[in-house]
């Protein structure tokens, strides 16, 4: 086996270790790579800035623990911004695992912002039925979720007073891969402003909605969370990861270049 063949057939564990070490180094010794703010993140920030104390926001936490490292930081950054402005937040999820992230956020931020459950924040829990469930929630919130995640009667909660349909929300935010469903079943039906955060893999699918104005702005993956943390001056996990993210991308590019150079050199060798 020539060295070209070896380059094209590198053991995958070598690549895993190389990526692992490449990502660890900037986490332990940060480099301070500058972070620019994209237009789509600025739009989301401006939307939240325009909200007034007492406004009610619906936040859909549609992500699993598998992709939580990517978008949970965006959810936290958005919630910090919202609670800092005394905006009320109603969580729900149409993915089973998403409901526990609502509880995580509430327990993490209650002490810092003095939140009162039921008055400032509520976790409606899991809405079954995928798109049908989301549509039903938009049409009649109280009937679709008669009880919240903790078993309270939703109609009796102070935060739910005046909230009947999606039109009663001042902003609807989708976090994770459910933003498209939210746009189609709530944004398109009720005409409410929809925004949020998407996983990096879902950004390509969401950009047509952003470009057509159906979704106002978008936090794109972990970078979107880092940009939002920078804009709101609330540094967290996402900003701390940006150096490592940049270096990781460089490592992937290097491997792709090595693989392609080896491929074309091998092909040239064989044609001689």
């Amino acid at each position: 086996m020539t060295w070209l063949d070896k380059l094209q057939n590198i053991d995958s564990r070598v690549i895993y270790w190389a990526i692992f070490i490449t990502l660890m180094i900037p986490l332990i010794w940060p480099m301070g790579v500058p972070l620019s703010i994209t237009d789509t993140t600025k739009v989301v920030f401006d939307l939240v800035e325009k909200l007034q104390p007492g406004d009610v926001v619906l936040m859909s936490l549609d992500y699993t623990p598998l992709v939580a490292p990517e978008v949970h930081s965006s959810a936290i950054a958005l919630c910090k911004h919202l609670f800092g402005k005394d905006v009320k937040v109603i969580f729900y999820s149409y993915i089973e695992e998403g409901t526990m992230f609502g509880e995580n956020i509430i327990s993490e931020l209650t002490g810092k912002y003095g939140l009162v459950y039921g008055t400032d924040v509520v976790n409606l829990g899991f809405v079954s039925g995928q798109a049908a469930g989301v549509r039903a929630l938009g049409d009649d919130v109280l009937s679709t979720k008669p009880r919240d995640f903790r078993g309270n009667v939703t109609a009796d909660l102070p935060i739910m007073q005046g909230v009947k349909t999606a039109k009663d929300f001042d902003l609807v935010l989708g976090i994770g891969d459910g933003l498209a469903v939210l746009t189609q079943q709530i944004g398109a039906v009720h005409g409410v402003t929809v925004s949020g955060s998407s996983t990096a893999a879902g950004v390509s699918g969401m950009m047509p909605y952003v470009n057509s104005g159906q979704v106002k702005g978008l936090l794109q993956g972990l970078r979107g969370g880092a940009e939002y943390e920078k804009l709101t001056d609330n540094p967290g996990y996402a900003i701390a990861s940006m150096d490592a993210q940049s270096l990781g991308h460089l490592a992937i590019i290097l491997f792709i270049v090595i693989g392609n150079v080896a491929y074309f050199m091998k092909r040239k060798q064989m044609t001689r």
Binding site: F20, M24, L27, V67, P146, A188, S212, G248
Partner: protein
């Protein structure tokens, strides 16, 4: 410990610890899903029927139970009623969403003034890719064949962008694991 066990399976080789953690993960996830399913049924069906007297909810409960009749050959025909209802509602929602959100709004967004290079590229990409999927007549020797080549280039660029985004996402997930290991566990960062 679970994270390290799974990483050992990737960075070294499959072993009993990584397999054990994978099985524990699948089992605990399944248990959580069962809990959520029972809680959801209790909240939206059983409690309203038993405590609030909303007997009309017995109809969707019955349709849902009928879905399981497919396991008994003699009464398997009953599952078609529940399935039909689900398909009908799903189709209705999908048609509305597709036409308004994915067709009309997107076509509207394509009608932009051709004053910037971005708008020109977008229009050429949309028209060429639409022409690429036009199979009514042979394209060879017509203007469609040149458009097909442009369409393939545009699609390859798009798939490249998608791939890049997926790579970015996967790196982010590994970063989350490293943050937990180095930060929360070892306290190095």
């Amino acid at each position: 410990m679970g994270t390290i066990a799974v990483l050992s399976g990737i960075l070294y080789r499959d072993n009993i610890f990584s397999s054990a953690v994978e099985h524990i993960f699948v089992g605990s996830s399944s248990g959580y899903f069962v809990y959520i399913a029972i809680k959801t049924l209790a909240d939206i069906a059983f409690r309203p029927i038993a405590q609030d007297g909303k007997l009309i909810l017995l109809v969707p409960v019955l349709l849902g139970v009928m879905l399981y009749s497919r396991y008994v050959k003699r009464i398997a025909w009953m599952s078609r009623w529940g399935t039909s209802f689900l398909v009908g509602v799903g189709s209705g929602l999908a048609i509305f969403a597709s036409i308004k959100s994915q067709l009309i709004a997107q076509v509207n967004a394509t009608m932009v003034p051709l004053k910037t290079i971005n708008n020109v590229i977008m229009l050429v990409a949309v028209l060429s890719i639409l022409a690429y999927f036009f199979f009514t007549f042979k394209r060879k020797g017509t203007a469609f064949s040149s458009l097909s080549y442009a369409a393939r280039l545009m699609m390859m660029l798009t798939f490249g962008v998608s791939f890049g985004n997926v790579v970015m996402g996967r790196i982010s997930l590994l970063l989350g694991v490293l943050q937990k290991l180095l930060g929360d566990w070892l306290g190095i960062i």
